[in-house]
Structure formats: structure tokens, C-alpha cells
Symmetry: C3
Subunit: 135 residues, 3 copies
């Protein structure tokens, strides 16, 4: 269901670090937003040094943009963004000063996966059960 | 007006398939959201195998993120996401289980094209007529 | 705080033009949204010719997507999108007809930078002061 997009300058993250960050983001999202890890997508955009600027100068930030379904409780969203940001620094070693995590959302019914409209937050179980029945 | 961003691992889609999917997304958006096809943008991000993860493991999803203007009728948005998702599998052969389509939106007046603020949904005709008059 | 993502076909923008556009977007955002330039991120996605379509055909648009915090006054958002769009053509020479600027937003408390939740619009000064105190 969710998509986390991580943007860095090339060579900021090793292949192992990307795999580790993907695993950790998946674990955190799964735990907090009640979605099986198998539904969590993490992608990396690794750009050339002259394609990334902070303050108008070439820079090496780690920008993470997560798309989630609208309607999770506020406390849950706050915990999610905090844990993703903490994991980003813990896993990659990029200092917190250069890490920006942004969560965006749109209604679950504006998204389709596996040919089915996504469930609203709180209705995951029935959706997943139905999915299983059709497998 | 809209921008559809398709993300895959490199070599998932041939050049022909990309052109076909772009054409089909354009046709669908144009038909449902009443925008001339010439205003529909479709871009592809084709990433390295170690840049795309689902469930914490390297994976080959087809992720489609569409940006549209806020304010289309609900039924129209539901039809849009359903037809884009169906087209994605039909055109590319990627099974529905690996296709995720997400529609995001922001108000038309937060977007500018051709030097002019975009029209709200339903006001396209006057906007397009004005555009033509200035050509 | 904000992230501006510019998408073009490769070779549309020279290295100098990218740096100039990043500097100008930074200056404009900083001035209008009251954020120090050092907090403005601008990234470029430069894609292959068969990865960018407008109207179902390969094309050379300049697509700019800006993420900002929710809650800026409407007039401010209108000025922001207008000045970014004008700068895009002025700096790059890409005609306005091929420039699309879209601003998206989410609540400041859905974003973390430097380990801290972002301030709501209007509360930047206290946030920045606190940041400085911990340096």
C-alpha cells in the first residue's frame, strides 16, 4: 500500500544500506500502520551531484517522501514520521541535520493494488482476508 | 495538467510498452477528466534492481502515481483510478498483484501551465478557449 | 523544509542552468514563505527521451513539483506558484507552454527535519531559534 521514495546523491548509500533501510522502513510502517510488510514499497532515486541542491548549492541530503492512506489517527502518523526519521539516520549514518522525512496522503479509495481499491485505515483485516480468499 | 509518474525496475517495460502505456493513460485521463490529451504528461522512472523493494526485498512492482486537480466528482476519481490500474496490467503484462496506482491531488490554483493558473474541474472549456485566443 | 522536484528529458538543462534554477527557486521560496534558503531543497530528475510523454508522444516539458507545508495564506501560495513558474522560463529558456508547476502540501507535523517536527507556517522563527540554541 504505501510507497516510500528516498532521494540522495549517487554513492551516498551502499547497496547493503539501501536494503537495510528498505527493511527497516518496511518493519516500522508495518508495525505502526497495521499493514503486512509485503505491501510496503521503498524506492531509491540516486541522482548525479549536479542534480541535488540545498540552499542553492550542491548538497547531500537524504530526502524521504512517504505516501500513505488518509485517515490514520494523528498520534499514529506522528509516531510513523518520527520512527522513519530516526531509522534513516540510524541505518544510513546520514546526520539528522541532512535528513528530511515528509508524509503525504490521499484517500484509500484513490488507490488500487492487486486490482482492488485499498481499504480505509482500520479496515485492513477484512481486505486482506478477502485477498487471501481469492488467491 | 495531470502528471502520471510510473516507477519500475529497468528493463521491466520496453520502449514500445512505455509509449503504449503513455498513450493509454493519456486517452483514459482525457476521456474521464475532460482534458485534451495534449495536456496529459506521463513520465517513467526506471531504476536499478537494488533501488526497488517490496516487503523489504528487491522486487519488480509497477508503481503509478498520478497528480490531478482537486475537485473532480468522487465517481469520476474512482473510475479514473480503476481504468488506469486495468490499463497498466493490460498494456504492460505486469500482473495486477504487482501494480499499485495512487492518485494525489492539489487545488487547481496551486498549479500553473502555459503561464496560467489551471482551471478548477468543470471550468476547462473557458480556460482552453482563452488559451486558443492568445495563440 | 520544502522539496522542489524538477523533471526533464536529459540535456534539456545544462549544469549551470540547473544551479541557476535551484538558486532562483530557493530565493523565491525563502522570500515568500519565510524560510531561510538553507532549508530549501531542489532536485532534478533527468530522464531518457523515451521516458517522458506529453499527449501520448515523446516530449520535452519542464515539470516542477513543489512540496510545502499546509497552511500558508492563499495569496502567498498563489504568489509562490506564479513566481516559480515565471522563474522556470526566465532561467531555463523553456517556453511557458512547456512548463507545468504544481504545489502539493501536507501538514507540517507530518514532516521531520534535523530530528524535529517542522513548524506550522507562521511559527518558523521560534523553531529556527530553538534550532540555533542546540547548535
Amino acid at each position: 500500500m504505501p510507497v516510500y521514495t528516498c532521494t540522495t546523491v549517487r554513492s551516498t548509500l551502499s547497496a547493503d544500506t539501501k536494503a537495510d533501510l528498505a527493511a527497516e522502513v518496511t518493519r516500522i510502517h508495518s508495525m505502526i500502520n497495521h499493514v503486512p510488510g509485503t505491501y510496503v514499497n521503498v524506492v531509491f532515486h540516486e541522482l548525479a551531484p549536479d542534480e541535488v541542491y540545498t540552499g542553492g548549492h550542491p548538497a547531500q541530503p537524504l530526502l524521504i517522501n512517504g505516501w500513505v492512506r488518509t485517515g490514520h489517527p494523528e498520534a499514529q502518523s506522528s509516531q510513523l514520521v518520527a520512527e522513519i526519521a530516526a531509522a534513516a539516520t540510524r541505518v544510513t549514518g546520514v546526520p539528522a541535520e541532512r535528513v528530511l522525512v515528509v508524509i503525504q496522503n490521499s484517500p484509500a479509495h484513490f488507490a488500487i493494488e492487486g486490482g482492488r481499491v485499498l481499504p480505509a485505515p482500520g479496515e485492513e483485516e477484512a481486505w486482506l482476508r478477502e485477498q487471501k480468499d481469492t488467491d
